[in-house]
């Protein structure tokens, strides 16, 4: 009985934390005014927000009835895939020039996104013009 009460409180706290960070993420998405800073909001939602909600789900399933570990998988897949989409958004921003031009790298010629192969250079220039 006491364990169930404790679990209920834990679930409630996790849900509140998750909802709070979701809300903050959405506020950030609306508030920031350039594409690169806006990219920082979803990374928060996908880590802490969804993480806390899934944790609540795990606790719930283990205290009340059939335990399930699917949520851990959801979290793992999310943590593996979220950085890749963020990376692509960033690359598109650099490509479209919708952010400050990044400083040149220390050692190499340029950044991979801006590195146009010799054969395609003509097409790239036409596009820019």
């Amino acid at each position: 009985m006491t364990i169930e009460i404790l679990a209920t409180f834990a679930i409630g706290i996790c849900l509140l934390i998750g909802a709070f960070f979701m809300l903050v993420g959405v506020i950030g998405l609306l508030k920031f005014n350039d594409p690169m800073t806006r990219l920082h909001a979803p990374t928060k939602i996908s880590t802490m927000g969804v993480g806390a909600l899934l944790l609540a789900s795990v606790i719930h399933s283990y205290t009340f009835g059939n335990g399930s570990a699917h949520q851990l998988l959801v979290m793992a897949f999310l943590f593996v895939t979220a950085p890749i989409s963020a990376n692509f958004f960033g690359k598109v921003n650099i490509h479209c020039g919708s952010c400050e031009t990044p400083p040149p790298p220390a050692q190499d010629k340029t950044w991979a996104t801006l590195d146009v192969p010799e054969a395609d250079r003509e097409i790239a220039e036409q596009k820019d013009a």
């Binding site: 350039d34 990219l39 802490m48 950085p83 963020a86 050692q107 340029t110």
Partner: protein, 166 residues
């Protein structure tokens, strides 16, 4: 014998991981499911081995677990910091910057893990790799000292990853 083992298990850890993921997906820890997971864990790495020729040789699992724990802790701390910035700081006072992180890591797998870590920790997003893979482009949400951010990434994450991927 050793070659036969290597042919059958090109990535022993991947085999184990696939078996665990399969068992978790089924939500049922029974002998049948575990065996079927192991069968999948043998077949999938074997079929896809051709597309992953230079797999990392040394990989320390114990240190990787410690690293994951550290990253989860950092995610929680940084989340609170970024939430504070979002709620209290007006846009005009925000100081977003590009940070260039020179890389000592060479293996593509290690660089991928580092880039993923940087993106998952709120406040920094890894955006691009230089054309020959010697530095990483990181965007920070708000900082007054880009050099400190660079040093922290190198000190805290890259140094540990160098010990994991030997």
């Amino acid at each position: 014998m050793k070659r036969a083992f290597h042919w059958l298990f090109p990535h022993p850890l991947l085999t184990l991981l696939l078996a665990v993921v399969w068992t978790l997906l089924q939500n049922d820890v029974s002998a049948g499911m575990v065996v079927f997971g192991l069968i999948l864990g043998v077949i999938i790495p074997r079929i896809t081995a051709a597309w992953w020729p230079d797999s990392p040789q040394g990989f320390r699992v114990g240190r990787m677990i410690a690293y994951i724990a550290l990253v989860i802790w950092d995610i929680m701390v940084a989340n609170v910091e970024v939430a504070w910035i979002v709620l209290t700081r007006p846009n005009s006072k925000l100081r977003p910057t590009w940070v260039v992180v020179p890389l000592d890591l060479r293996q593509p797998e290690a660089i991928t893990v580092l880039a993923g870590t940087i993106t998952l920790t709120p406040g920094t997003v890894s955006t691009d790799l230089s054309s020959d893979g010697h530095s990483l482009l990181v965007h920070t949400l708000d900082t007054d000292d880009p050099d400190a951010v660079r040093d922290e990434i190198k000190q805290r994450y890259e140094r540990r990853l160098k010990e994991i991927f030997v």
